[in-house]
Symmetry: C5
Subunit: 307 residues, 5 copies
C-alpha cells in the first residue's frame, strides 16, 4: 500500500493513481504550447545573458491577476455546468424511457397477441430514440445499433432525414394516438404518455443546445489573449531574479493556465468519445437491459397472491 | 500543423485561430478607451520627466482590488447568465414548437381534405410565432419571412399591432378551441395543447424580460467609476519605477479591464445580429426544416407492418 | 463622437454617459460617509504631523481582506439575485395574465351579449390584480388606477381589506367556477384556468417574500462593523508613507467599499419608485395595452379563410 | 440626522443603527473566543519581550490564505442558501394554503348549512397544518395555537403521534375525497386540490431536510481546525513587528473570522426563535388573517352586477 | 462551560467539540500524504544545510495561486452540490412516498376486506422501493430489510434482476392499473398516482447519476498535479528563510490543501456508510414509522363530528 493511499475504510483508490494518469489528462493537448513558452523563456534568458538587460521589475498588478485567475476558473465552471447539464439531460432521458416503457407495458390493453408484439416493438423504439439521439449528437450516420431496434422500412426512411430522433418521436406519438383511437388506453393515459414523449424531445433539444452553443466568442478570444500576454510577459518580469531557472518556472505557470483552459475546452461538449466525455454507450446499454428485465417480469397479482 | 494546435484526436481547431480572431473580438470596441489611457500615461511620464515628481508609492490596497476584480467578473457572469437564459428560452421555443406541431399533426382528426390544409397552415403559424418573436426582440418590422408563413389578411392585421407574436398565439389558441368545438380533438388534448401555447408565450415573455431589464443602473455606474479611477491612478503609482514603460503596462491593464467590462455589455443582450449573439435566424430555419420533414413522414403503422 | 464611445455598429450608447450619471448613482447616498472618513484621515495626518507618530506598519493580512472583499461582493450578488427574482416574478405575472386573458377570451362560451361584457370586466380584473399587487408591495392605498378597472362596490370592499390582490384572485376564481356551473367552460378548462390564478397568487407571495425578508441581521451587522473597522484603521496604516495624500487615498477606498455596500441596500427591494427599481408602472401599462389589442382582434377562421 | 444616514429620499434607516446593534449581532457568541485569542497573543508578546525571540518571519502563503478565505465565505453562502431555501419553503406554504383555501371556498358545493360549517373547519385545519409544522420544526409540543384550530378529539389524537402535520394532511385529503364521493366536487377539482395538499407535505419535507442535514461534518471540522491554526499562528508572525499592538491586531483578525463562521452557524437553521430566524409566528398569523378576510368576502356576481 | 462555547441561549454545542473531533474528520485519510511532504521538506532542509544551497527566492506568482486556490474550493463546492442534490433526491423520495401512501390509503375503494390487506401490502411495497434503492446505491445484495416488506416470491424474483427498485416500481404501477380496471379508483386518480410513481423512479435515476458520474477525469488529474507541484516546490522557496521550521510550515500548508481536496472526495458520493454520508438507514426507518402512524389513524369525519 502506497504512502499516498486513502484511509483503507473509505476508498480503495490510491491517491497517486489519479496523479500519474496519462489517459484522460490534458498533458498531450497542452504539451506543445507549454514547450513553446519555455523555449521563448530560454531565448529571453540567453539574450539577457548577452548583456541586453530586460530590467522591467514590474510587480504583478493585483486587479489584472484577479481578473485572469477568476476568468480561468469561471471558464472551467461554465464548461463543467454544461457537462453536468448534459449529464442531467441524459439522466432525464433514462428516467423518461423507464417511465414511459413501464406505463406502456402496464396500461395499454392487449386485445390480441399481435398487440403484445406491437408493444415490444414500441419499447424497442424508445431505446432507438436514445440511440438515435446519441448518434445525432455525435454527427454519426445510422448504424447497426439502430438497425436492430427498428423495422427495415423505418430504418430506410430515417436515413434520408435531418433529425432521426425527431421522426422516431413522431412514430411513438403516432402509435399512442392509434391505441387511443382503438380504445386500448383512455384519454388521460394518452395525455400522460404524450407528455413523456414531449420530455424526450425536450432532452434532445437540450443536448442540441449544449452542443451548438459554445461559450460566447468574445469571451474565448479575450481569455486567450490575456493568457498569451501573461505567459509571454512573465519571463521578462522574472529573468532578472531567476536567470536560468526562468524557463522552468514559466513552464510550471504555463502548465497551470493552459491546463485549466484546456479542461474547459475538453468538457464543454460532453457527448463525444473521449475519456472525459459522458458514457453514452453504456447508458444506452443499461436502458436496453432495463427493458429486457421489464418484459419478462411477472405481474404483481401473481406475486402478491402467490405467497 | 501549428505548435499551438490541439492534440489531433481531440479537436481540429487550432489554438491560435481563436487567439488572433478580429471578428467577434472586443478590440474594436475598446481600442479608443485603451489608447486614451495610454496617452494619459505618456503625459504623466513626460511631466514626471520634467521634474514634477509624482512620488505616490502606494501599494495597491487589497480590499479595493478584490472588490474591483470580483465586480468585473461578476459583471461578466451576470451577462453570461442572461445570454444562457436567452439561449435556454429559445431552446424551449424549439422544443415546444416541435412538440406542439407533432401533437397537432398526430392528434387532430381530419374529417375533410380542407382540415388537412388547415393543419398545415397552423404548423406554419407556429413557425411564424418564432419568427415574429425574433423580429419583435430586434425591434424590426414584419418582413417577407413572416409574409411567407401567414395569410395576407393576417399579415396586414399584424402590421397594426404592438406585439405580433402575442396575436399569433391568440390565433393558434383560437384554432385549437374551434377544433375542439367541432369534436376533432378531445378536452384533454385541447388542454395539453393550450398548455404548450402558454409555454410559447412564456418564452416570449422571458426574452422580453432579458431584453428590457439591463443590469441595475447603480451597479453599472459604480463599476465604470471604479474602472476609471483605477486606470487613471495606476500611472501615478508605477511611473517612478517603470518610466517610459508606463504607457505600455497601463495599456495592458486597460486592455484587460475594459475588455472584460465590454464583454459584459456585448453578451448582455443576446438577441441582436452580432458575432456574439444567438444564431436566431438559423434556429428559425431549423424549425422550418423539422416541420417540412414532419409533414412528409409516413405513419408508424405503415412502417411497423410494412416489414 | 467621444473617444470613449462604443464601436458604432454595436451600441449607440457612449461609455462616459454611464460613467458621469448622477441620477441613479449611489454617490448622494454615500457622500456623507466618505467625507467623514476623509475628515478622520485628515485628523490622523495632522496629529501625526505634530509628532505623535502612529507607526503601525501593518501589512494588510490576506485572510481578513479576502473575507471582507468577498463578503462585500456576496452582499451585492445576493441583492442582485433578489432584484432578478423580483423581475422574474413580474415576468411570470405578465405571462400568466397574457395566458389567462387569452384563454378566457378564446374558451369561455358567450350564450348572451351580457356574457361578452362580463368577459371584458374579468379581463380588466386581471390587470387590476397586477396593479393591486404593485400598490400592495409599495404600501400605497388604492388609487384611481384600480378605480378604473373595478366596479365601484368592488373598489369600496377592497378598501377595507388587508390584502387586496388576494381578494381579486378570489373574485376571478369565483367567476370561473360560476361559468363552469353554467356550462360555459368544461371541467378541464376550469382546472387549467384556476391553475393560472394559482400562479398569479404565487407571484404575489414571491414578491411579498422578497420584500419582507431582508438579508439576515447578523450578516448585515457584521459586514458594517468590518467596513467601519477597515475604513478607520486604514489611515493609521498609510499615514507614514503617504502623509498629506492619506485623506485622498482613504476617500477612494471608502468610495469603493461604501458604494458597493450601498448598491446592495438599493437593489435589495426592487419594488419602489427609484431609478434602480423595476419599472412596474410601465409593466402594468403594457399589460393593459396587450389586453386592448386582444379584445379587438378578429378570430383565426376569419383570417384563415379570408385570403 | 446623522452624518451616516442614507440619502433621505431612499431609505429612512440610519447607517449607524445597524452598525451599533447588539441584539442579533454575533458579538455575544464570539466574544469569549476572541478574548482567548487576544490573551494568547498577549502571552506570546510577553514571552517574546523576555528574550525568547519568536523570529518566524513567514509571509502568509497565498494558497492557504485563499483557501481559508474562500471556505469561510462558502460556509456563509451555504448557510444563507439554506436560510433562503427555508424562507422559500414557507413562502410556498403561504401560497399553497391561500390557493387551497380559496379553491375549497369557491368550488366545494354546499348542499346543506352543515357543509358550510365543515368548510370553515377545513380552512382552519389548513392553518393548523402550518402551525403544526412550525411546532414540529421547533421540537415543541402541541399548544393552544393548535387547540384553537382543531376539534378536541383531533387534538388528543395528534398528541400521541410522531409527525402531527402529516396526520393533518391525511385528514384534509380525507375530507376532500369524501366531498368527491358525495359529488360536491368533480374528479378534476379533487385531483387539483390533492396536488396542493401534496405541495404542503413537500414543504414540510423540505423544512425537515434543511433542519436535519447540517453541513457535512468533515467540512465543519476542517474549517474549524484551519481557523484555529490561523488564529494561533498569526501572533508569532507579527509579534516581531508590532510588539504590544499584537493582541489588538489579532483581536481584529479573530473578530473577522470567528464572526463570519458564527454567522454560518446562526442562520443555517432558520426555524428557531432568534433575531436571525424566520418570523414564522408572524407568517402563521398572516395566514389566519387572510383566511378570515376570505370567509367574509362577497362573491363576484354580487360585486359585478351591483354597480 | 468552556471559553469556546456558544452563547448559551443560541446553541448548546461547544465550539471545541467540533474542533477536536476525530471521527468524521479527514485527518486519518490525509495523514500519510502530509507526513511524506514533511519528510521531503526535512530532506531539503538537510541537504540545504550541507551546503548545496537552494536559492530560488521565487515569490509565489499570483495567477497560479489564485487558480489553485479557486480550483480547490470549486472542487469542494461541486462535491457539496452533489451531496446536497443527493439529499434533495432522498427528500423528494420521502415526500413522494408520504404523498402516494396517503392518497392510496384515502382514495382506493375497498370493496372487500381482502382489498384492505392488499392496500397495506402496497404501502409496504413503497417502503421496499426506498430500501431497495438504498441497497442498490450501496451495491449491496437484498437483505432482511427487504424480506420483511415483500411476499417471498417477489423477493426471490428480485434477487435475479439487475435493478430491484425498478421492478418494484413496475409492481406498484401494476397494482394501480388493476385497481383502476376494477373501478376502485377513477382515471384521474390513476394518472395522479402513476405520476408519483414516475417521481420515485426519477429519484432513483438522480441518485444513480450522482453515483456514477464523478467529477471529469481531466479535472481531477490536473488538480492533483497542481497540488503535488505546489507541495513539493514550496520547501525550496522557503528553506532559505525558515531553515528548520520549513517542515513544520510545509506540514500546515499540506494539511490545508490535502484536507480540502479530501473533503471533496469524501462527500462526492453521499450514499455510503461514513460519518459524512447521508443517514439513509434513518430516513428509511422514518418512512416506515410514518406509514404505521397512517394505517392506524381515524378518518376526519369521525374526528370532525365527534366533538
Amino acid at each position: 500500500m502506497s504512502f499516498f493511499s486513502h484511509h483503507p475504510s473509505r476508498s480503495p483508490r490510491i491517491w497517486t493513481d489519479i496523479l500519474l494518469r496519462w489517459q484522460g489528462s490534458v498533458i498531450p493537448a497542452i504539451a506543445s504550447r507549454v514547450l513553446v513558452c519555455m523555449a521563448f523563456s530560454l531565448g529571453v534568458t540567453l539574450v539577457d545573458g548577452w548583456g541586453y538587460k530586460f530590467s522591467i521589475p514590474i510587480q504583478e498588478s493585483i486587479v489584472p491577476s484577479i481578473v485572469l485567475g477568476l476568468l480561468l476558473v469561471f471558464r472551467t465552471n461554465t464548461a463543467y455546468e454544461r457537462f453536468w447539464e448534459g449529464r442531467k439531460a441524459w439522466g432525464t432521458m433514462v428516467n423518461t424511457i423507464r417511465n414511459l416503457s413501464r406505463i406502456i407495458w402496464v396500461s395499454v390493453a392487449e386485445p390480441s397477441p399481435q398487440a403484445h408484439q406491437d408493444k415490444i416493438k414500441i419499447l424497442h423504439l424508445l431505446v432507438a430514440f436514445a440511440v438515435a439521439t446519441k448518434l445525432h449528437l455525435r454527427s454519426q450516420p445510422l448504424n447497426e445499433e439502430i438497425w436492430a431496434l427498428l423495422p427495415e422500412s423505418g430504418y430506410r426512411k430515417l436515413e434520408d432525414l435531418n433529425n432521426p430522433p425527431l421522426e422516431i418521436a413522431f412514430w411513438i406519438s403516432n402509435y399512442l394516438q392509434r391505441e387511443y383511437d382503438q380504445n386500448n388506453i383512455n384519454a388521460y393515459q394518452l395525455t400522460a404518455m404524450l407528455r413523456l414523449v414531449d420530455t424526450m424531445v425536450d432532452v434532445l433539444g437540450s443536448c442540441e443546445r449544449i452542443l451548438k452553443t459554445p461559450i460566447p466568442l468574445a469571451y474565448a478570444i479575450h481569455l486567450r489573449q490575456l493568457i498569451f500576454l501573461y505567459c509571454f510577459i512573465t519571463p521578462f518580469q522574472i529573468v532578472n531574479t531567476l536567470h536560468w531557472a526562468t524557463a522552468f518556472v514559466v513552464g510550471i505557470i504555463a502548465f497551470t493556465v493552459f491546463g485549466i483552459e484546456e479542461i474547459g475546452v475538453e468538457i464543454e461538449n460532453p457527448f463525444g468519445h473521449d475519456a472525459n466525455d459522458l458514457p453514452l454507450d453504456q447508458i444506452c446499454q443499461t436502458m436496453q437491459a432495463n427493458l429486457e428485465d421489464l418484459i419478462q417480469l411477472p405481474p404483481w397479482h401473481q406475486i402478491s397472491h402467490g405467497d
